[in-house]
Amino acid sequence: MCDTCGCNITPGNRHLAYKPVNGGTSAISVLKKLLAHNDDQAAHNRAHFDTRGILTINLMSSPGSGKTALLEATIDALKDEFRLAVIEGDLETENDAARIRARGVPAYQITTGSACHLDAHMVHEALHHLNLSMVDILFVENVGNLVCPASFDLGQHRNVTLLSVTEGDDKPAKYPVMFRAADAVVLSKIDLLPVLDDFDPARAEQCLRQLASTVPLLPLSARKGQGMAAWYDWLRSELAAQRARVSAGQTVKPYIQPDGARLHAEVG
C-alpha cells in the first residue's frame, strides 16, 4: 500500500486518508462553486438588464432545432409591440445575426471559435455593442449544443430549451441537465409531426415531467405559424413579471441553479 499516490484510496476511506495533515501542509475548506467567477459576471450582467427593465431570455437547443427561425417569426410578430434585440452565439459564422438584422432588429454576433457554449464574460462584452436603453426583450441564442450551455449562467432571467420533433422524443431523458434548466420548453417544427411516425409529443412531455419539471411545454411551428400565440403570451407574461420585479427592486435567475447546491453550500 502506498500512501502518496492515492492508489489505495477508495470512496469509503478517502475522508480518513487525508486527515490529519502533516507539518508544512495545511488543509483548507473552501466550499465554493467552481464557476463562481462566471456567476459573479452573470450577476453583473443581470444588474445591467434590471436597471433598464430588460427581460433577457437564453435560447438553447441542439444545432438545427429552429432557434433562429423562432426568433425571426417572433420579431415579425412582436417588433411593433416590444423593442427587441438579439445576441447570437455561434462557432464560426455571422449568418444568424445577419438574418436577424435583415428583419430590422439589432443583433450582435459572438463567434465563440472552439468554445461550445457562451459564458457570462462573452455576453458582457457583447452588451457593449448593443444600445440597451432601447430594449424590452433581449434574446440570447446560445451555441447549438444540449450539454455545455446549461452549465454557464449568462445573467439571463429565463431559459428556453427547444426540442424539435425531428429529434428523439426521449431527448429530455438523455439530456436531463439541459431540460431541467428550462423555464419553458418549446416543441418546435410540429408541422412535421404528420410525416414523422417515431416522435410522440406525450412521451416527450412524460420525459420532461420525470425531471420534476413543471414548466410549460409549448408545441409550435414557426414556419407555419402554428401554436405561436401561446409562445407570445408566455413572453408577454414574462416581461410583465420582469417589470413587476424591477419596480419592486427584485430580480430572478432561471431555475438552472436550484436550491440543492445552495442549501448544501450553506450547511458547509
Binding site: 492515492g6 484510496i9 470512496p11 478517502r14 487525508y18 495533515v21 508544512g24 501542509t25 495545511s26 488543509a27 483548507i28 475548506s29 473552501v30 466550499l31 465554493k32 462553486k33 467552481l34 464557476l35 463562481a36 467567477h37 462566471n38 468554445a115 461550445c116 457554449h117 459564458d119 450539454v147 455545455c148 446549461a150 452549465s151 454557464f152 429530455p172 431523458a173 438523455k174 436531463p176 441537465v177 439541459m178 431541467r180 420525459c207 415531467r209 420525470q210 425531471l211 420534476a212 419539471s213 413543471t214 441553479q257 436550484p258 436550491d259 440543492g260 447546491a261 442549501l263 448544501h264 453550500a265 458547509g268
Partner: protein
C-alpha cells in the same frame, strides 16, 4: 467540451487561494460533483493537467467526491434517492419534487504546502 473551461475556472480559484495562503504547492484538490452538475468527472480529470500546467497546482492530485442524488417531495414530504433522468418521489411517485443534493459543482477542500 466545456470541461476545459470548468478546469480553467477551477485552477484560477485554486491559484488565488494558494496565493492568499502563501502556499508554493497545491497537493490535493477535492471537488464535490453531483450527477446533475453537467460535467463529466472523467473529462474533468483528463482536462485538469492541461489547465494546471505551469501553476502551483500543476502537480496536485484531483479527487472528485461524487454526491448523492436526492429529492424532497412537495406532495408527501419524503426525501428519497433519485436518478438523473427520473427525479420522481421514491415513495409516492409524484414529480413535484425539489433537488436536495446532486447538482453540486464545488471546490470543497485544498491541501496546500507552505
Amino acid at each position: 467540451m466545456h470541461e476545459l473551461s470548468v478546469c480553467q475556472a477551477l485552477v484560477n480559484q485554486v491559484v488565488e487561494i494558494a496565493q492568499q495562503n502563501s502556499a508554493h504547492t497545491v497537493q490535493l484538490i477535492t471537488l464535490y460533483i453531483g450527477p446533475l452538475a453537467g460535467v463529466e468527472p472523467a473529462l474533468l480529470v483528463s482536462a485538469f493537467p492541461l489547465a494546471a500546467a505551469g501553476t502551483v497546482a500543476a502537480s496536485a492530485q484531483l479527487v472528485i467526491e461524487p454526491q448523492p442524488l436526492r429529492v424532497h417531495c412537495q406532495t408527501c414530504g419524503a426525501d428519497t434517492e433519485a436518478t438523473p433522468n427520473r427525479l420522481l418521489c421514491g415513495i409516492c411517485g409524484d414529480y413535484h419534487t425539489q433537488l436536495i443534493s446532486g447538482d453540486e459543482l464545488m471546490l470543497a477542500n485544498l491541501e496546500l504546502i507552505t
